[in-house]
């Protein structure tokens, strides 16, 4: 039961953290609740489809289909998150002002809604399909531990939801004037972390050199498999034994998005005086 709880916790936490960061980061966008729920539903549906087709996915591209499929998902998510942050760099102040003054949702950001939908759906899809495969395996192995496993899985899911909920409540305590700056940093780290995971998969598929495998080993200090390690992995992309290529990708993507945000926000300033 506990091993099921741990596996489901580990797989689901990342998706939960992404959801709670996206929910916070899109505060003030009207009807975002519907788009969030839509993203989760689409993701769950997709998980079942992907888990079902895993054999076919695995067998394409000389057995590297799984890696390439996940790389594609990650790259789309990184692009969406980058777009979100760059959009916020020019609209964040406006949004914060309106939340402060009216405490009402703003009817703006039509494209932001598709970002919410797609990012959340992809996060749930990527983590969900592995959980589905795990549960399927248990259900078919004939063990009489099925009930225990489902109970454990529910516990793991609940624990993940609680941590993500706490993160969200914590974020809401940040003053409105600095709120979007804070969520912007979280989204930036999330995008960099996803890019580094894509790099790991490309190294795994032998399409990129590893540039040091691993570059360092901090597993004695903080094992990635512990609860804290799992949370940090989900939030900032912490890995105890990363390949050099992952670290390089992380830094390059972080600097690229941050530079674009600064550039856009510098250009947006004159508009505020209107």
């Amino acid at each position: 039961m506990f091993s099921a709880a741990i596996i489901v916790f580990r797989e689901s936490l990342e998706a939960f953290l992404i959801i709670s960061i996206m929910v916070a980061a899109t505060r003030g966008i009207s009807h975002r609740g519907k788009w969030i729920a839509g993203g989760v539903l689409l993701g769950l549906l997709g998980s079942a489809v992907v888990a079902n087709g895993m054999e076919r996915i695995s067998s394409v591209a000389d057995g590297m289909g799984q890696e390439l499929f996940n790389v594609a998902i990650l790259i789309i998510a990184v692009a969406m998150l980058a777009w979100h942050n760059i959009w916020m760099a020019s609209h964040g102040r406006e949004l914060a002002l309106q939340i402060k003054n009216t405490a009402r949702e703003v009817t703006d950001g039509g494209k932001e809604r598709s970002v919410i939908l797609v990012v959340i759906a992809l996060a749930v899809l990527r983590e969900g399909s592995e959980t589905v495969l795990f549960l399927y395996g248990v259900a078919n192995s004939g063990d009489n531990g099925l009930r225990d496993t489902l109970l454990g899985g529910a516990m793991g899911l609940g624990f993940g939801a609680v941590i993500a909920g706490l993160l969200y409540l914590g974020l809401l305590r940040i003053p409105v004037s600095r709120f979007f700056a804070a969520t912007g940093v979280l989204v930036l780290l999330l995008a960099s972390s996803m890019a580094s995971q894509a790099a790991r998969l490309l190294v795994q598929a032998d399409l990129l050199p590893s540039l040091g495998a691993p570059l360092w080993d901090s597993s004695a200090m903080l094992d990635q498999r512990t609860v804290l390690g799992t949370i940090l992995h989900g939030l900032v992309g912490y890995e105890s034994q990363p390949a050099g290529m992952q670290v390089l990708t992380y830094v390059v993507v972080l600097l690229t998005i941050a530079t674009a945000m600064r550039w856009v926000s510098g250009r947006a300033k004159p508009d505020l005086r209107k």
């Binding site: 091993s3 596996i7 895993m54 054999e55 695995s58 067998s59 000389d62 057995g63 590297m64 799984q66 890696e67 592995e130 495969l133 795990f134 399927y136 395996g137 248990v138 078919n140 192995s141 790991r200 190294v203 795994q204 598929a205 032998d206 590893s210 495998a213 691993p214 080993d217 597993s219 990635q224 498999r225 890995e239 105890s240 034994q241 990363p242 390949a243 992952q246």
Partner: protein, 109 residues
């Protein structure tokens, strides 16, 4: 001239042989790895075939190697590795990682 050409062709063939990955096999049966300890050569590209003989899916995972791959039931997953430095690298079948038989290590020498 002819011998020079022959040497060139031979050395080309030799470098190609070195560049091609050596194949090794790891089998999963009843959620247990065999062998539990796999010896691999250092400094070489390796193609590790993970054969899942069970009907249920398995996930080969190694944090030290940075590898994670789902292997559907009754199928073989290819995990490319290396060139590796000498040392010991642990791996698990993630869906049964708490069971000793689902844990193993690669010893590179």
């Amino acid at each position: 001239m002819k011998s020079l050409l022959a040497v060139a062709v031979l050395s080309l063939a030799a470098t190609h042989a070195v560049a091609a990955a050596d194949e090794f096999t790891l089998t999963i049966k009843d959620h247990a790895f065999s062998p539990r300890e796999l010896k691999l050569p250092a400094g070489k590209k390796i193609k590790l075939l993970v054969v899942n003989q069970d009907a249920t899916p398995a996930e080969f995972e190694s944090k030290p190697l940075g590898r994670e791959k789902v292997i559907p039931g009754k199928s073989t997953g290819i995990v490319s590795l290396g060139p590796l430095k000498a040392g010991r690298y642990e791996f698990v079948e993630e869906y049964h990682e708490t069971e000793a038989a689902a844990q193993g290590s690669i010893v590179v020498e």
